[in-house]
């Protein structure tokens, strides 16, 4: 099994290899049918090698499982053991599911320097690796990098499927992921409290409580949420064994998932995978409550803005120029 962060391609080629980018764009242009064909093909070809993460109801316990907020430590232990066993059975990979808690007094924030982001998209690939996203880039990614023509601010003019060498002249690059809003429309609209804001400002989803109505997806102004239309497929050698219950564990079919600022890393003192993978240093992460922290310095001294400020979502994700 390959290590998740040591393999050279793991961090994503710079830029995306032409062949692969071409394939991606081609798939998109051909439309939905081809996406599904590819999924079907991939599923068939890798039938044995693939860990289908579909979560069929295997037990009454699973069906009656309570909301995360009502689980006792004992409940969690049993659930985590069951989930670990499921992955083991389906893919042969030993994973460890944990439940890191928010650090008291910390509110996580993210800042991204648009002056130096060059659209290399290594963050996208590193994120996929860390968070157990499927192999095929067109299936599901938490981060979308938009290539926007200079002078444009309307996102309809941007292109998320750009290819070839970056940065291109006359373009700037705008990576977007979950903004972990302080006033999150997704949380407000979830009909069954399956998604909520944690004390450290992270918006999480209880994958075992979500009913899959996708109202949060309709509510999100940043297109940050992803739905498991089919059972997610991930090849065993891509599985990241370091998993957290509320973030990167392998998701069941029919539920919503999203970026959690890699809480399985950040709550134990590490940086998010996207930041570590960024070769330009455009990404800055830290505690918004720390007056001497890097983030607060950026907010105080740089030219900062947030996306769609007018919607009143109060993002914890900032863009700046420096």
């Amino acid at each position: 099994m390959n290590g998740c962060h040591t393999e050279p391609e793991a961090a994503g080629a710079l830029p995306l290899p032409d062949a692969r980018a071409g394939q991606l764009v081609e798939l998109r242009r051909k439309g939905e049918t081809s996406r599904r064909d590819l999924l079907a093909g991939a599923a068939a070809a890798a039938a044995t090698a693939t860990a289908a993460a579909g979560c069929d109801i295997t037990s009454v316990d699973q069906f009656l499982q309570k909301h995360y907020s009502e689980l006792t430590d004992e409940d969690k232990k049993q659930i985590f053991a069951r989930l670990e066993a499921q992955v083991k059975e389906r893919s042969g990979v030993t994973v460890k599911i944990s439940d890191p808690q928010p650090i008291e007094g910390v509110t996580f924030g993210y800042a991204l320097n648009l002056s130096i982001c060059n659209g290399n998209r290594r963050c996208v690939e590193a994120c996929a690796r860390e968070n157990n996203l499927p192999n095929h880039p067109e299936e599901m990614r938490y981060i979308r990098v938009l290539e926007v023509p200079n002078g444009a601010f309307e996102l309809e003019k941007s292109d998320p499927y750009f290819e070839g060498e970056v940065p291109k002249s006359g373009k700037y690059y705008l990576p977007v992921q979950c903004h972990q809003c302080a006033n999150p429309p997704c949380v407000r609209q979830c009909p069954c409290e399956a998604t909520w804001k944690e004390p450290d400002g992270l918006i999480v989803v209880d994958y075992d409580w979500c009913i899959g109505c996708r109202y949060c997806q309709a509510a999100c102004p940043y297109h940050a949420r992803r739905f498991n239309y089919g059972a997610p497929t991930i090849e065993p050698d891509r599985i990241n064994p370091n998993q957290a219950y509320l973030s990167n564990r392998i998701r069941p079919v029919g539920v919503i998932e999203k970026c959690t600022f890699c809480l399985q890393r950040t709550r134990v003192g590490r940086f998010p995978a996207c930041l570590e993978a960024c070769p330009t240093g455009a990404r800055k992460f830290g505690d918004l409550n720390d007056p001497n922290g890097e983030l607060r310095k950026i907010l105080a001294t740089k030219r900062v803005y947030v996306l769609k400020e007018d919607l009143g979502t109060i993002p914890h994700f900032f863009y700046f120029f420096a």
């Binding site: 996406r35 938009l146 309809e156 941007s158 979830c190 069954c192 979500c210 899959g212 996708r214 940043y222």
Partner: protein, 434 residues
């Protein structure tokens, strides 16, 4: 208790018995229902990957049909107001059809949602007490509350009145009249909440219009009378139940107001979206196309033409008198509103995505089968309960054996608030082609 079980058994027996036309109709519906169920079973096994929905367009034809069905539920309000507020005898005779249609419409709304969600077996997460209903924060939670309430009220009123009629007892007004008046306010809440469900999302500027709920309310004023015109025509033609001409006049009168008003509000929306030159991407995509993609243009222009043409018919006295024209126009009105306020209201809100990407959506065969199957289920259930209702109201289904000679109607408006009057019955001689 035993009497109640017998009542149900006799109703079922009544549904199972019918003429050739009845069996053909119900049989065809059953085939469509089974096809829909077969298609949906694939969604259950493989997930919604079977549909054409994507992360970009995450609500498709299922939610569009849901929104349209909300409009059908207005049929109850449309007949309750003249029957109970204005005490019109003719409307009171047919008010149960409106209420039962509302029941079917609300059930369809719920089914369109249930077949559209990823984990239907987790629906209990929405039940207060055992689940976690996010009320009053989530508009979808409001929807759940309002729909359930509306369903219960509209099941209670006709259920109680029919049973009393079956038992040959005078209904107690305290048992149903308060609910009749609650249901009027509840109905308005029902449409408003559905409007708010969409317009409450700041990230979807296409929906974030203050006149969305009013537009919604007005367009249900088109679909509900249109569908009632069709249903009551069928009832009049194929059963012994007599529907007075004045009821048709009343429904046409409603359309005479609601159809032009619907166009007016659409015009207001178009003006604010296009006149100033400010860019409204979703509206552009819907009406003229965006970034070279034009998927919904034919659909919305068809809707506009249909709505213009049908409005013209509704406001022209000469056309309104021809019953065939009226029925055809009613069907086209429903189609026009379905295109404009169903598909044309839900899908374009997702195109482009909040990040500006234009991904188009068109339902695939499987999705269409599920939708058709559910529509057939609605028609099936409605036909069944309408048949029972007619049997009870004409006195052929009653506690002491069915009557071969139906009761004659009581004097209209004899006892104020005494439930609905027994239906007028056509004598065999007066029956035409039925």
């Amino acid at each position: 208790m035993i009497r109640y079980v017998v009542y149900w058994a006799r109703m079922v027996a009544c549904v199972l018995k019918g003429g050739r036309l009845y069996y053909t109709w119900m049989g065809s519906l059953l085939v469509l229902i089974l096809l829909g169920a077969w298609s949906y079973s694939h969604d259950v096994v493989d997930g919604l990957i079977r549909t054409n929905m994507t992360d970009e367009v995450s609500w498709g034809i299922g939610i569009a049909n849901f929104v349209f069905c909300v409009g059908l539920a207005a049929s109850a309000l449309l007949l309750i107001v003249p029957a109970y507020v204005y005490k019109r005898h003719d409307a009171k005779e047919v008010v149960l059809f409106g209420e039962l249609l509302a029941v079917v419409a609300v059930v369809l709304c719920l089914l369109f949602i249930i077949t559209d969600i990823g984990r239907p077996e987790r629906l209990w997460h929405l039940f207060p007490g055992i689940g976690k209903l996010n009320w009053p924060s989530s508009m979808l939670a409001w929807d759940v509350v309002v729909y359930t309430g509306y369903l219960v009220i509209n099941l209670h009123i006709p259920g109680y009145l029919l049973y009393k009629q079956y038992m040959r007892q005078k209904p107690n007004p305290y048992f149903y009249l308060p609910f009749v008046f609650i249901s009027m306010f509840w109905a308005v809440t029902h449409y408003t909440v559905t409007g708010f469900l969409l317009s409450g999302l700041g990230g979807r500027p296409f929906w974030a219009s203050p006149i969305l709920a009013p537009r919604f309310l007005v367009s249900v004023g088109c679909t509900a009378p249109a569908v009632l015109l069709i249903i009551l025509t069928v009832v009049r033609r194929h059963t012994h139940f007599k529907v007075q001409e004045s009821v048709f006049d009343y429904l046409k009168k409603v359309l005479r107001f609601s159809a032009p008003l619907n166009l007016f509000l659409l015009g207001c929306e178009l003006f604010s979206q296009f006149y100033s030159g400010a860019r409204t991407p979703a509206a552009h995509y819907l009406w003229v196309g965006l970034n070279g993609k034009h998927g919904l243009n034919p659909l919305i222009w068809t809707a506009l033409v249909l709505n213009l043409a049908t409005t013209l018919v509704w406001i022209t006295p000469r056309f309104r008198k021809n019953h065939r024209v009226v029925i055809a126009t009613a069907a086209l009105t429903m189609l026009g509103i379905w295109l404009e306020k169903g598909v044309g209201l839900v899908i374009p809100a997702f195109i482009p995505t909040p990040l500006g990407e234009v991904v188009e959506y068109w339902p695939n065969f499987g999705e269409i089968l599920v939708s058709v199957g559910l529509a057939a289920l609605g028609a099936f259930v409605f036909t069944a309960i309408a048949k029972v209702t007619i049997a009870i109201q004409t006195g052929t289904l009653a506690v002491h054996g069915g009557e071969s000679t139906p009761r004659l109607p009581a004097a209209p408006g004899s006892v104020p608030g005494s439930g609905f009057p027994p239906a007028s019955v056509r004598t065999p001689e007066s029956e035409g082609a039925a």
